[in-house]
Symmetry: C2
DNA sequence: GCTTCTCTACGAAAGTCTTCGTTGACATGT
DNA sequence: ACATGTCAACGAAGACTTTCGTAGAGAAGC
């Protein structure tokens, strides 16, 4: 029903866990988060995940007493949405500027450069008309 | 005083105007924003810009009655901060993954590919040990 | 059966973001 | 000097985010 929104910080933290570890219970997500942030509370994570079901960011299996949650959209879809969103908000809509800036922001390992080169080759072959 | 925060959506909209058009008055920023969003209100923009001065996102020249605002941090610095932030929040800290995803998300023009290739060349020369 | 533990659900509190109405100061033109 | 218009300042409302206390239902152990 609701249009696809940008996940908040806390929501993204939960999505990362579910993308990494697959469908999980609240407790499993909590424990994963606590590895990095030991002060995270159970009811906080539960509440967030409930809200995320309402927002249709997550899907919940209630067939057992302990519910199982999974991310509704795959990781890449969400990542692309966030990138496109950032391109508009901070780069005047230019994804290309975003990429250039990202490349300059970080020293890149040589293997990674090769990886990107290869992708460029494929794009050039596939896209050239 | 406050640590450098991530600008909000409305703040970023104002920053874009100031980056594009240089130091400006509230009214000038408002009119620029109204070109895309005619319902934007004067006091809303004013209040936001006042808050942004407190947050040290903007600097204000109060010497004249009509104050002049400018972005404190240059465009690229803020863009890099946002990219690095997104890399952590949505890409498990991998800027490289972010770049790959951004490249795949968009069809890239050939000239742009050349531009990126050139950047890669420079990076390879400068960074290879 | 009773106690203890785990889980979901609910609601409220505190913080932030965005919007705008109102006010008073200052400027301009006549 | 007075009317009109522009500006900064303030305060408050409404929405959203994040946190957590509390309560009740069900499961497990004694």
């Amino acid at each position: 029903m609701a249009k696809t929104m940008r996940p908040t910080d806390a929501e993204l933290e939960i999505l990362q866990v579910l993308w990494d570890e697959g469908p999980s219970t609240v407790r499993a997500v909590l424990e994963s988060i606590q590895r990095r942030r030991p002060n995270a509370g159970y009811t906080t994570v539960l509440k967030l995940m409930q809200i995320m079901v309402e927002k249709e960011l997550l899907v919940r299996d209630e067939s057992a007493r302990t519910h199982i949650y999974r991310a509704k959209a795959p990781r890449q879809t969400t990542q692309k949405r966030l990138l496109s969103d950032l391109a508009v908000r901070a780069f005047g809509g230019s994804t290309n500027q975003l990429v250039l800036q990202a490349l300059q922001a970080k020293k890149i390992m040589e293997e990674e450069i090769a990886e990107i080169r290869q992708l460029l080759d494929e794009l050039e072959q596939g896209g050239a008309k």
